[in-house]
Symmetry: C4
């Protein structure tokens, strides 16, 4: 029996079996859940909860994915704490940040982070924005974030710091329009992570799982680098060459940790 999308999941902390999402999605044909996007939506939900569980996301921040059926659209939750996001909260946006079918739902002010990065980077299939607590000190420091260990290999190519004040003066710090989003996307360049001064960071990747993995290990790496700096003396970071090779391996073994993470947030849900 088909149930309408709006009641498929209870709105709050529901006893959802995330694992069944793919099959359920394959049986429905709605604008927010076309064949093929259900797996991506499942990854957005899982990734949001995983990062909330780790404290990388608190009540703010968001995970999005390029729509697998339409590269000029992306999928992202309505305005909601990431720990509470369910498949039914995911909306569709065009690359100017307009909701395709808003139906009165509240939107994230900072959806332009996502829109402008998808516009500028055709290779990017997923974007994660966080107020990652261990990373924020690096956003106000002159010490660059560098790759301490192989799980954060993607940082070996560099992680630039973007300062909103440079182009936009004294603001409320938010990426609240396309122009600010474009400026951020330009600073990101071809990298995997960009730091936002006094705010947080953005991690991107070729899939939701990889963007979530990078958001998580950016936070871990920042914590380890802070500890290493505290020891004093010279530090022996990964070289760009090592980073490129190790990042390819991370992508290959990614599902081992993703399955663990998914099991954890699903178990939490079911308790």
């Amino acid at each position: 029996m088909l149930r309408p999308a709006s009641i498929r999941f209870a709105p709050a902390i529901a006893l959802v079996t995330l694992f069944g999402l793919g099959e359920v999605g394959a049986q429905t044909q709605t604008s927010i859940d076309p064949a093929g996007s259900a797996a991506v939506i499942d990854d957005i939900v899982t990734g949001s909860r995983v990062l909330a569980d780790f404290g990388v996301l608190d009540g703010f921040g968001h995970v999005s994915a390029r729509d697998p059926n339409n590269p000029n659209h992306f999928l992202m939750s309505r305005s909601l704490a990431p720990a509470l996001v369910t498949a039914g909260d995911i909306m569709e946006f065009d690359l100017d940040g307009n909701a395709v079918d808003a139906r009165g739902r509240a939107l994230f002010l900072e959806r332009f982070i996502h829109a402008e990065i998808y516009k500028a980077r055709p290779d990017v299939m997923a974007v994660v924005h966080t107020h990652s607590p261990n990373v924020i000190p690096f956003t106000i420091s002159q010490v660059p974030l560098r790759a301490v260990f192989h799980n954060a290999a993607f940082l070996a190519a560099g992680a630039p710091v973007w300062d909103i004040r440079k182009d936009f003066g004294e603001t409320d710090m938010l990426v609240r329009n396309p122009a600010i989003g474009r400026s951020l996307a330009e600073t990101l360049g071809d990298k995997s992570v960009v730091l936002m001064r006094g705010h947080g960071d953005v991690a991107v990747g070729p899939a939701v799982r990889m963007a979530v993995f990078r958001a998580y290990y950016t936070d871990v790496n920042a914590r380890l680098q802070s500890q290493a700096v505290g020891l004093g003396g010279l530090l022996n970071f990964l070289t760009p060459g090592e980073g490129a090779k190790a990042d390819a391996v991370n992508f290959a073994v990614l599902d081992r940790i993703w399955n663990l993470w998914k099991m954890r947030v699903t178990t939490t849900l079911a308790k």
Copy 2:
């Protein structure tokens, strides 16, 4: 059916559905729960438990609100660990710190923190006093606490340190009378947060939710600033202009994180 206030909640860790408090309160007419104050009492209870859950409050500290029905009174728990506060524990006080209807209940020694701030600051509707662990190092340091990121934007206006020894010599460190409370309120001035040397801090706001939000993000900001200082070199803090703008946005999106927090402490209660 009306139940007397004293048995509305079990005295200890009760299976309270906090969400229903507003309606229940609206049906009762007692001196501690007049129409209109139930929502504020609910926020005091929720805020106390949220801050205890985060470790910002341990067994000590307190959350209060100006009485919405009488600006010359405020509402605050009887002497009790914040994690255990329920609506039935909230008492009413005048601005000299006298309990309106004590009925033999033990009072917090430091209620004068609250009384004197409400007296000095008509704009303040809520006060939170904590022994916030990440903030305490700044209370004994010459390094001022400054706004590291936009969620702690309210710190960009400055967070002065009050030293009880300056006016009162060697004491037991407690704000145990109106004169000491007045001295603290004077150092707070028009700011949102005041640090107390060798003791903790006080956060104020235009609503309980905002004072709790500020108490929480003062702790987070202190932790991040400590990490940033450890990296060495110059740091790029929020300007006062950025702080004022970002604080207004925080107030606007506050309910997104408040609802998450409330759900968490309610779920914990119901387990």
Copy 3:
């Protein structure tokens, strides 16, 4: 109906209602549970679990109390991880560290810490030995542990560091005989806390609850002092005069936090 002490509690993680212990004890007349000592035994059990819950104790360390019925004896668990201690595990020892009624049970090697302090300090009614993680760095450092905030007021009188190597050369670091215990007790002197180089610390007090309180806040204070030192510059510690006054208040309000802690470990047990 009287049950023998050995089966009063299940040996492992049992669904014990700690609150009922006093009454149960009052009904039994055995050498390990004379009338009057049941409340003290309950505090040893609760304190062991509280400190384990906070990570101040891990699998090692111990909480003891002077026997309220015999000042020349003390009460302490058989050799067991503190998180698992129940009332049935508490044994009685004389001040030379001999078990009064061993019945083949394994003893803590380091019971001489307790025996020698009870011998040297008639005012001490309880002793806690931990490998408190935040304190251990101070045991190998030249930076003295000092009172950062009023909850750790007892540190304002000083917390000396004892180095076993000074009198005993290269050992296995353990206080495994009366002579080593005496050396430790001498360094403790009239203070509340003594640090043990490369090992941990000992906190004492006029009651189990106060010794546990001090063990906990010694750990918290060490963490906060480490953070404060990291900020750089001069630090403004509590004076001895402030410390003495604030410590008296801590003793007066101790039960507020003790009741919270006890409820927590009891709830954990009952889950």
Copy 4:
């Protein structure tokens, strides 16, 4: 009744009573569970979960044991997150890292860490490889990891840092063949722990429980040493003589903390 090995344990988070494993194993005769190895397999499963529970292991890393029935073989899980390892996942390998009976199961790329250490060190009965977060900063620092306290006594003999780049140039950082494993084993020498630059560490021991104990306390010691270094000034580490004596005691009291750990992960499983 005998059940085939493949269904003895549910594949995911199962309600396994780890304590019964020995008896079950004694009744079966399969190539992965010969009489005598069941207790070792139980320790591998318990140790994997304990280290995952402490965050010493995340989704990666592994625990192995020399086969008690064949010193030229070792036992290790198929490729799986350590938190999910059950007895049914343990496979048998020869000292070249070949699986004795692969049956299509995915293997850990880095099994050569284990194979080459068992080859080089006949005294080693267990090997643990982690990305221990507190240790990683020391792998890129010039500050050597040293024994801060007696539970980490095994570090007093030294913990060398191995840099894969020295012999193998820019790699993906993984120990993916016997030659790299041999290089690592050579740097380990006769020590208990070797650090891997930009990667993690390896702890070895005369039994699984001791290798797990050392992996855990290497992480704790690294955290405490980082804090101690942050205090500034000279530090008073354990001497090699103290380390040797204290390590012998640790081995003697090991089961006290092992039983606590095992109870914890078993309780978690059964929830």
